[in-house]
Amino acid sequence: MQPQALRRGSWYQGGAVRGAIALGALPAALAADRDGAFPHLVRALIDGIYSGALRMTGSRADAEDLTQEAFVRAYRALGTYPPDRIRELRLREWVWTIAANLCRNHERRRARRPEEALDPDAAPADPGAGPEEDALASAEGTRLAAHLARLPWAQRAAVVLRHVTGLSYAEVAASLGRPVGTVKADVHRGLQQLRRLLEEGR
C-alpha cells in the first residue's frame, strides 16, 4: 500500500476528518497535496456555504445540492490551477464565488418555473437555546427566513453573506464580484426591507 493512501485513510474515522488544518494554512496545503487537504477545506467551509445557500434558496434540498455542487466544482478547478495560483487563493471568497453563482443560476431557473413553492421546513438552527426558546425562536426565524427568501436577489445575496454567514464587506464584494460600495448599499436596502416586512407582518 502507498504511504500516501495510508495517510489519507487515517484521516477518516467514521466519516469524520481528523486533525484540522486551519483555513489560513489551507492554500499552501492544497497547493502541495490537493487530495489530502481538500477534506479539510470541506470541513472548514461547509457549514457556512450550506447556511448561506439555505437562506438564499429557502430550500434545504436545494441548499444541499448546491453546496455539494459548489465543492465538487471547487475540487475540479483546483486540479486545473498551478500551485502558485492555489497558494494565492482567498478560499472562503473563492468557494463563495462558485456557490453564489450556482445559487443565482438556480434562482433564475426557479423564476422561470414559479409554481415551485418555498420549502416550509427550512427552519433555522438555533444553537444553544433551550426547548422553549427554541420553539419561539424557530417561529420567528421561519418568518424571517421567509421574508429573506423574497428579497430581490442582489439584496438577498448581500444580506445573507454579510449577516448570516458573517463575511466582511470586502469578502462579500469579492464573493459576488461587485464593488464594496454596491454591496454595502444592497445590505442596507435589504435590512430596511426586512424590517418593513417584519413590522407589517405583526
Binding site: 493512501a5 489519507r8 470541506v42 457556512g48 450550506y50 465538487v72 424571517l144 435590512l191
Partner: protein, 248 residues
C-alpha cells in the same frame, strides 16, 4: 424589535452530517456505502464511481470501514442511499438475483480473478455451473482450483453470484458470505429445485441431454430444464455424452 443582524446570524444552520461525506464521495476522495436488504439479511454495499466495490453482511460499521481502508487505502463514508441508477441495479441483484449488468469495480484484482467474476456474473439466477465450467469459459481449462480461490475471495458476493458456482460432483461446496449453508439458501431463494438437483448429483448425473435435439447441457440450465421427461437422457460426463452422439 430585537437586533436584526443578530437574528439573521441565528439563521446559520449546520450542514447535515451526510453532506461532507457526499461531497468527498463525489470528488472521488472517499467511497461511500449504504445498507440494502438481501436474502441473507441486511448487507453493506460500498461503491465507487465505477460500481460496487465491496459487499458484506451488515455488522459493525466501523469494522466495515476499517476493512475497506485496509483493502483499498481509501476512506469510506456511510450514505443514506445508493445513487438512483446503481440502487435499482443492486436491488435487482439482491432481491431477484438478476446480477447481469450490475456495475462492479474490480480494481485491485488480478486479470484472472476479474475474468472469473465477470463470467460468474453471467450465470442466470437459479442455475449453477461447476468450477471447471468457469475455467473453460474464460479460456483457462483445468484451472478449477484457481477459479475456486478467485470466487472464495469475491469482494462483491451476491452482486457477483459466486454462489452459483458449485463443485464438479454437483454438491454446493463452500461459501464465503456467512455460513456455507447460505449458498443453498440463496439458490433456493432464486428458484433452484435443490432436492431435485441433489438427487441428480447423487446419482452421478452431470448433464441432461435431449434425444430429440441431440444437445446436452448442465442440469440446471434453462434449456436442459425444458427437456420433457420422456426425451430426457441423464449423462455422467462429457465423454459418455459424446459416445451417445450428443453435442454440447
Amino acid at each position: 424589535m430585537t437586533d436584526l443582524p443578530a437574528r439573521l446570524a441565528a439563521l446559520r444552520a449546520p450542514a447535515p452530517a451526510r453532506l461532507a461525506p457526499a461531497v468527498l464521495a463525489r470528488t472521488g476522495l472517499a467511497d461511500a456505502y449504504a445498507t440494502r436488504p438481501s436474502p441473507l439479511g441486511p448487507v453493506f454495499v460500498a461503491f465507487t464511481p465505477k460500481g460496487v466495490s465491496l459487499v458484506d453482511l451488515a455488522g459493525d460499521p466501523s469494522r466495515f470501514e476499517a476493512a475497506y481502508r485496509a483493502r483499498f487505502g481509501r476512506g469510506l463514508v456511510a450514505v443514506g442511499a445508493l445513487p438512483t441508477r446503481l440502487a435499482a441495479a443492486v436491488d435487482r441483484a439482491l432481491g431477484g438475483g438478476r446480477t447481469r449488468g450490475v456495475p462492479v469495480d474490480l480494481a485491485g484484482l488480478s486479470e484472472f480473478q476479474a475474468a472469473v467474476l465477470r463470467r460468474a456474473a453471467e450465470i442466470p439466477p437459479g442455475e449453477v455451473r461447476p468450477y471447471g465450467w468457469v475455467a473453460r469459459e474464460i479460456g483457462r481449462p483445468g484451472s478449477d482450483r484457481a477459479v475456486g480461490n478467485a470466487l472464495a475471495a469475491n469482494p462483491v458476493p451476491l452482486v457477483v453470484p459466486c454462489h452459483r458456482v458449485v463443485r464438479a460432483d454437483g454438491r454446493f461446496g463452500r461459501y464465503s458470505l456467512g455460513a456455507d449453508a447460505n449458498k443453498r439458501l440463496l439458490l433456493e431463494a432464486e428458484g433452484l429445485e435443490v432436492a431435485e438437483h441433489e438427487a441428480l448429483a447423487a446419482r452421478g448425473v452431470r448433464y441432461l441431454g435431449s434425444d430429440t435435439t441431440g444437445i446436452y447441457c448442465h442440469p440446471t440450465c434453462r434449456h436442459a430444464r425444458r427437456i420433457t421427461a420422456r426425451h430426457r437422457v441423464e449423462l455422467p460426463d462429457d465423454r459418455s455424452a459424446a459416445r451417445a452422439g450428443f453435442r454440447p
